[in-house]
């Protein structure tokens, strides 16, 4: 990567040395407009890396985030996979949590009211075993106060049924999205898996099926073997790779998809700092998600928000939308 732009070099965080409050320059509007979903800023936190927000709210006010994508939520409670569930890899990690969650009814009963009470913008990530199940979860969430959007998870690599199985084929991906579309008026984000031959093809299929926007990428499937015990480290054998190691792959996929669909894109994959996030915005993402970085620096999203604002101010921009897709000649989305 070339030398980092000096205006944001000061905002490379990750050292845990910062205030839990945001300091933003005057004259920059960070509002991110993703179709009919408006976020206070373009920095969200990725599903599965943030629980339902409680753990991070101990460190900072999570209402400062653009949105919280909550942990993948299923129709019934799920215990998840057997341990070990995580293992560190070079500049990244593998996880095979297996969608441990209390089920949609409990999320509606306790987690969403709490997120509303602290002023957080909640996007509910949903996962099902069948098209009907995705539809049923969406139907239950449809009129729940405080749900800003639904993120359809057709990209989880760590469950036997559902998850990624839907996301690797265009017809099944489209069928899930259509089912959810019929079940809810909420904005729909479809989270795409990178474990496909052509992510653009799946992106077009789910947009045609009614997805209001896309988020990409979910994790890349991988594994680690313990050479002394001669068996895979993860209890699930395989897991999903995330962290800085995947960032160039994720960026390229956002770049490609931004040239093939007009809907807003939420870019994610290994983003830790504002310069990382800005690359995704320039490639064509209207917003970003911070995922694994939350594990290594709980305050990372705050550094990213401030760094994006500083970059915009330093380059004379008044709003985020002005730089979305600015490095991508084939960017299809709209920009003021």
């Amino acid at each position: 990567m070339p030398e980092m732009t000096s205006s944001v070099a000061a905002f490379v965080g990750g050292d845990g040395e910062r205030s839990p409050a945001l300091t933003l320059p005057a004259g920059v509007d960070l509002t991110a407009k993703l179709g009919r979903l408006t976020l206070k800023n373009p920095v969200t936190v990725a599903s599965g890396t943030f629980g339902y927000g409680h753990e991070f709210h101990r460190f900072y006010d999570i209402s400062q985030l653009g949105a919280v994508m909550v942990k993948g939520t299923t129709l019934h409670p799920r215990a998840g996979n057997k341990p070990p569930r995580v293992v560190e890899t070079p500049a990244g990690m593998l996880n095979a949590i297996g969608l441990q969650n209390p089920g949609v009814d409990e999320v509606i009963r306790t987690e969403l009211p709490w997120l509303v009470s602290v002023g957080a913008t909640a996007i509910v990530n949903i996962a099902g075993h069948s098209v009907d199940e995705y539809g049923e979860i969406a139907r239950r969430l449809d009129s729940v106060p405080g749900v800003a959007a639904i993120e359809i998870n057709i990209s989880c690599p760590n469950v036997d049924q559902g998850g990624m199985a839907f996301g690797v084929h265009c017809p099944s991906a489209a069928a899930v999205v259509s089912g959810v579309r019929r079940a809810t008026k909420l904005p729909i984000i479809t989270k795409l898996t990178p474990n496909v031959t052509d992510i653009g093809e799946v992106a077009r299929a789910v947009v045609d099926a009614g997805s209001d926007m896309l988020s990409l990428i979910n994790t890349l499937v991988g594994m680690v073997i313990d050479i002394e015990r001669r068996r895979p480290v993860l209890g699930n054998t395989v897991g999903g790779l995330s962290g800085p190691a995947v960032r160039p792959v994720a960026l390229k996929m956002v770049w490609d998809v931004a040239r093939q669909v007009k809907v807003p894109i939420i870019g994610l994959g290994g983003i830790v700092t504002a310069p990382d996030a800005i690359q995704f915005l320039l490639a064509g993402a209207s917003a970003v998600s911070i995922g694994t970085a939350n594990f290594a620096d709980p305050l990372a999203p705050l550094d990213v928000i401030e760094g994006i604002a500083a970059y915009l101010a330093a380059h004379g921009h008044r709003g985020v939308a002005e730089i979305v897709g600015a490095a991508n000649p084939g960017f299809l989305g709209s920009r003021p």
Binding site: D15, F59, K71, P83, V86, A296
Partner: protein, 276 residues
Amino acid sequence: MPYIGRATVTAKREFARNMVSITIQCPAVAQESLPGQFVQVRAWPGPGTAADPLLDRPLSVAGVDKQKGTFELLVRVVGRGTRLLASVPVGETIRVTGPLGRGFLEAAGAAGPSILVGGGVGLAPLKFLAEVLTAGGHEVLSLVGARNAAELPPPGELAGKVQVATDDGSAGFHGTVVALLEQMLTMVVFRSGRVPAPVVYACGPTPMLRALKASATLLGLPVYLSLEERMACGIGACRGCAVRQVGPKMAAGEVKMVRVCHEGPVFAAGEVDLDA
């Protein structure tokens, strides 16, 4: 709210073979920490400048000095992260997040006469616990295991009474700490009426905890275990360190996971599945 930020290494010494004691100036952690709690530490650049290693390392608090505002960690070098941590010079800063998790006495609900069982880096939380219990006037007996005499900490490191066990018999009891505990308890009847039954607290490798759980259950003693599991965030968010909850509180067929980093790391032995 747990502290997050920089903290200065103020002292280092060899605690036992392959184990370094590090003293860190951090009044927030020193004031708030309870025996059994841990901190996440990072002795290398943040993930924004380097992700090598990516994640912080979770380490038990081995003791505090509230007056000086310092706390102690015991570090055994097992990989790159612990090697970097063990080699931080005095005067340098590291990043600290904590204290985190639930400690021994919070899990047990009350303090009383106690038997502490552990070895290796498992001694870290037990050392802190022994100090707190003896300071509170409670009787403490620590059973310390090691492969051989050279790996044992020097005498006097643990508050209260100490007995040692070595796998090769080069010091103390010839055998495991669990075997030592069994032998002692068959000789001493704690529930003779006047002596209250002790609580057993343990930290060490999972096979040791498993053996301890089995024999202490047999002897009818309450046992609390500090578990170790691979962690990513250490603060409860990722669900990476979950273990299965078991025991009488669970309904038939109910499956519930608890996080080692958040509901733990200390659990009643009968409350968690160690065989998964």
